[in-house]
């Protein structure tokens, strides 16, 4: 039976001292929707996802509003927000998340991804970060394995 360590984990991580802009650049380049944020010793500090980037770049009140069709872009305000967060360490935007363990099952990972609302979760072995597991990677691997089997 496959364990999470055997899945195509993506080495998508940034140091906690990386800037917000560097982290967003890494997210843009990576094939996963979230990055692991690591301390100097390589231990997991938290996760920085596309959603966290969105929250930082757009007004906080969007999370409170249920209706936004009336809103128009306010380019000057959006530019100001972007400049304000550009060089802030990414650790400020990272959220603490319980990682998946390397020996856990695919089914358990599927349940965690479903219920956490995250699109990718970090996989660790003890304190060591192994990589990010995305929903797409989990589903794709399952299909591939079925086809081969």
């Amino acid at each position: 039976m496959a364990r999470l360590r055997d899945l195509p984990l993506v080495d998508a991580a940034v140091p906690a001292t990386a800037t917000f802009a560097e982290a967003v650049g890494r997210l843009f380049a990576a094939s996963v929707p979230a990055l692991a944020v690591l301390d100097e010793e390589g231990s997991l500090v938290g996760v920085f996802s596309e959603r966290d980037a969105l929250r930082a770049l757009f007004p906080e009140y969007l999370g409170e509003l249920r209706h936004t069709a009336f809103l128009r872009d306010d380019p000057a305000a959006l530019d100001r927000r972007a400049e304000a967060v550009r060089n802030v360490p990414v650790a400020r935007f990272a959220r603490a998340l319980e990682p998946l363990e390397a020996e856990e099952s695919e089914t358990h990972a599927a349940e965690r991804l479903l219920h956490s609302g995250e699109h990718a979760l970090p996989v660790c072995e003890g304190r060591r970060f192994l990589g990010m597991l995305s929903i797409a990677a989990l589903c794709h691997t399952r299909l591939e394995r079925r086809e081969r089997g």
């Binding site: 007004p59 906080e60 009140y61 999370g63 509003l65 249920r66 209706h67 128009r72 306010d74």
Partner: protein
């Protein structure tokens, strides 16, 4: 046993006031302790629950919960901001009155949660701090909620407890004084905040360019839900003539709403604030125990001794006492405890003046501190989450004067009209 019951209730009030534990957990734990210690038995506990209050609350939660996704409330709040035309005074007054009116006919907690997010967006576009506007809305929600039987939880409890007081009685006796209080306090707040609400003309133009109707995507659904909402409010006005209790009106409105406007019943019922309903349930059991143990009677006797037979003194003690208690704890548990006290003070006679004093005191007292009413906690919570923190003392500095002015108006009103 009476001392134990009083101690459990006092401890629960303190914990609710301090907010160390969620208020629903406190109320349920207090209720369980009252039953387990024998302060009242299981049958008495069930009898102590005012099911009509719970029904009215639940019904209104469903009605508003189904209407809210249509975007109609966002439309109203945004139109109010646009009508101000960039004039700070106009903005303050329009937001205040829209919040006040919504609070009167929905409930103040719901109203504030509908209006505040739109206010944040408008303030952002206008490049002004949202804090003064949201504070104005909080005060307006508590004052506006005072105007009707369904506007604020203390009124719901009073109205369902005393069937002699109809929806129309609340409007006739509380709406005029609430309107005056709202106008006076809003004018004062506009004066205080005028320096923080300077709006540049081009920013006002940005708000004017917004199209509030864009969120009203499903027009037939808007028409259906608004029709049920308006129909329910009309039925509240007529409930005495129709010989139905307000709770029946609300639950019937909710049922019609579910039938004609809610495709997914589960989703609609998720909008019911279950923690609030269980909070009330726990409170009713605790207060039932206080009644059973004679604590309520002794408090009422003490108040009667303090005020003599003077109706004016009784009304003012109830008004200011309810306001002080609500400010320190939370107006819901305080009102729950005061209702049987007012019953006892009246003895066998029914005097509506004391009930209006309790309603005005509990609702206006809700403006004094950040924890005094659920609307305050919810709105300052939204401010906090969006990076605009209001401290306890910062709130008190504005809330206390607003409350004192409101209570002064209520005092004059009660003395002139009801005593």
């Amino acid at each position: 046993m009476d001392i134990l019951a009083a101690a459990i209730f006092a401890a629960a009030l303190a914990l609710i006031g301090l907010e160390w534990v969620h208020r629903t957990k406190v109320a349920l734990a207090g209720a369980a302790l009252m039953v387990l210690t024998g302060a009242l038995d299981q049958e008495q506990a069930i009898e102590a629950v005012d099911w009509a209050t719970l029904g009215l609350l639940a019904g209104m939660m469903v009605i508003v919960g189904v209407t809210e996704p249509t975007g109609v409330f966002t439309y109203l709040a945004l139109r109010a901001a646009q009508l101000a035309g960039g004039r700070p005074l106009g903005l303050v007054f329009l937001l205040s009155f829209v919040t006040g009116i919504l609070s009167a006919f929905l409930d103040n907690l719901t109203a504030i949660l509908l209006v505040v997010p739109v206010t944040l967006a408008v303030a952002d576009l206008l490049r002004v701090s949202p804090i003064p506007l949201v504070l104005v809305e909080i005060f307006a929600s508590n004052i506006g909620g005072t105007a009707t039987l369904i506007g604020d939880p203390p009124n719901i409890m009073i109205g369902t407890h005393r069937p002699e007081l109809s929806f129309l009685d609340f409007i006739v006796n509380l709406a005029p004084v609430s309107l005056v209080t709202l106008a006076v306090t809003t004018a004062g707040l506009a004066l205080v905040f005028r320096g923080r609400l300077r709006i540049e003309p081009e920013r006002a133009l940005e708000v004017a360019r917004l199209d509030p109707s864009r969120d009203l995507a499903d027009r037939p659904l808007v028409v259906r839900t608004v029709a049920v909402l308006v129909g329910t409010i009309a039925a509240f006005f007529l409930h005495t003539a129709l010989h139905v209790e307000p709770a029946v009106v609300a639950l019937t409105g909710a049922t019609v709403m579910l039938l004609i406007a809610a495709e997914d019943v589960e989703a609609a019922l998720e909008r019911v604030h279950w923690s609030t309903l269980f909070f009330f349930l726990g409170l009713f059991v605790m207060v039932g125990a206080l009644e059973e143990q004679g604590v309520v009677e002794r408090v009422a006797d003490g108040l009667r001794a303090l005020t003599g037979e003077s109706a004016a003194a009784q009304a003012l003690v109830v008004l200011w006492g309810a306001a002080a208690g609500s400010a320190l704890v939370d107006n819901i548990p305080f009102t729950a405890a005061m209702i049987p006290v007012v019953d006892r003070i009246q003895g066998g006679e029914f005097d509506d003046g004391l009930w209006w004093a309790l309603a005005l005191g509990a609702c206006y007292g809700g403006n004094a501190t950040m924890i005094a009413a659920a609307a305050n906690v919810a709105a300052t919570g939204v401010l906090d989450r969006t990076g605009h923190r209001v401290s306890f003392l910062g709130f008190l500095a504005v809330g206390l004067p607003v409350t004192l002015v409101s209570l002064a108006i209520a005092t004059v009103y009660l003395l002139l009209v009801h005593v």
